[in-house]
Subunit: 272 residues, 2 copies
């Protein structure tokens, strides 16, 4: 699972999950996170900020407990002043993995953007702590976050809304519930805006485990769609008006199921 | 003008201009750029890529020539393959300043995003070369680029479209033609999405000269509006629907005319 470290210390894994990961049966994705984070010695800090439901944090504490993690704690950050609380920062300082739940990614960015809690997560990931997020928690992981948009397979100007995210990597933009909610068009729209980005469309119950060497490995029951626009020869988004379809010629696309890998630096895909 | 260098080597200045800078009379802004870049020894590379007009590059060559710069050259990058041309990269390697003209910022990001030309501009700025951009060329300077949107004073969800920019700094988001086109609402919308950003609304014929120490100084006939959302206590953008006005409580705003400064790290404003 974990590729050889390339930095000293190696960055922690970055783990966007497409939402609706299995929490009752095999729990393949959550189990792989626990293993990376130290197994029964793992210390997992859960941020339920994206969610408007009160029990989201407690539910994940329960699931991690069932997976043998005695030290999982939910940090109920709900307003901006919570992002400065010393107690929460202390939990992040001692965690071996940090987990961002689903909900609305704009709640995460507006409540936590620029706070000490977000800065601490960035630093801890650089120091080797793993950061996983599901659904909204997956969208916010990169510097450029898909904040919202419409459905359908065709890219159209204004189909995707971007916002600044947590910034653990700036190579990718992440969409989630990808096949289930027909989001190819909005992922393509997002990467049409600047082809330095690589688009990751992540299905439900599927995760991209991005190692410190920027190689991702797919875990889970669905697929990760990788869209690499670096070789496109034409892209009409600068000419398109609201609602117009956008031409994009020369995209490279990979459909990756469990065990397949993709190198975000070399832009090369491989099977297990 | 130029604050004391703090790095070794110090980064070059980053100079977003609000568009429609004077090119015929005092030419205060362009003259200040020439002075920073070495006066009559300056070597200025001009990228007219944002513009659809054929003579945009040649016009700036003429203006810089009138200001005593014999070595100003326009690089007519018009499609993605141009972003890999060795001749253009060579000009950027020898330039003391790089100038991005106005037009459409999505032309810049879609044609040059991820190309060797853009990577070279990033590296050259880190090495000490000054990068100035006017209008569209100003919008693309940061990591988070205001790509488009509507007018009016009130922030509304979807009033601002963000896209990935050139990435010389990730502290700011820039809007231009700011007073002239009534763009306060869209700048506020952009920073509402993640309050780690500082918004700069730059009037026409006005520039923010951002030094290597991240202190900006205003040059020109208008004002720079600085909006700092770091102390906001409430922000409703995550709850807003398309077109709804967004509440933002606790913004700090500075109106800076020529000579005034703002420290992007300490978030403190001062007069000359």
């Amino acid at each position: 699972m974990s590729p050889a470290p390339v930095d000293d210390p190696p960055r922690g894994h970055i783990i966007p999950i497409g939402g609706a990961e299995d929490r009752h049966d095999d729990r393949t994705i959550l189990r792989a996170i626990v293993e990376l984070a130290g197994g029964s010695d793992a210390r997992i800090a859960i941020l339920p900020t994206a969610s408007r439901m009160k029990d989201t944090g407690a539910r994940y504490v329960e699931v991690f407990d069932e997976l043998g993690v005695a030290d999982a704690v939910a940090l109920p950050l709900a307003e901006r002043s919570d992002g400065e609380r010393e107690g929460y920062v202390r939990e992040l300082e001692r965690a071996t993995a940090i987990f961002l739940t689903g909900g609305d990614q704009l709640r995460l960015s507006t409540i936590l953007g620029g706070t000490t809690v977000f800065k601490t997560i960035r630093r801890r990931n650089a120091e080797g702590v793993h950061v996983a997020g599901t659904s909204a928690g997956a969208a916010i992981v990169p510097e450029h976050m898909l904040a919202g948009g419409g459905s359908g397979p065709t890219p159209r100007f204004t189909l995707a809304q971007l916002a600044p995210g947590l910034g653990l990597t700036n190579r990718i933009v992440v969409d989630q519930h990808f096949s289930e909610r027909d989001r190819l068009g909005r992922l393509l729209t997002a990467i049409s805006l600047n082809p330095f980005l690589i688009g990751l469309g992540i299905d439900e119950d599927t995760a991209a485990f991005i190692g410190p060497d920027d190689v991702l490995e797919v875990v889970g029951s669905g697929a990760v769609t990788v869209v690499d626009p670096s070789e496109i020869v034409h892209n009409s988004v600068a000419e398109a008006r609201t609602g117009d379809p956008v031409s994009m010629l020369g995209l490279r696309v990979h459909l990756l199921a469990a065990g397949a890998r993709y190198d975000l630096v070399d832009r090369m895909a491989s099977t297990a």
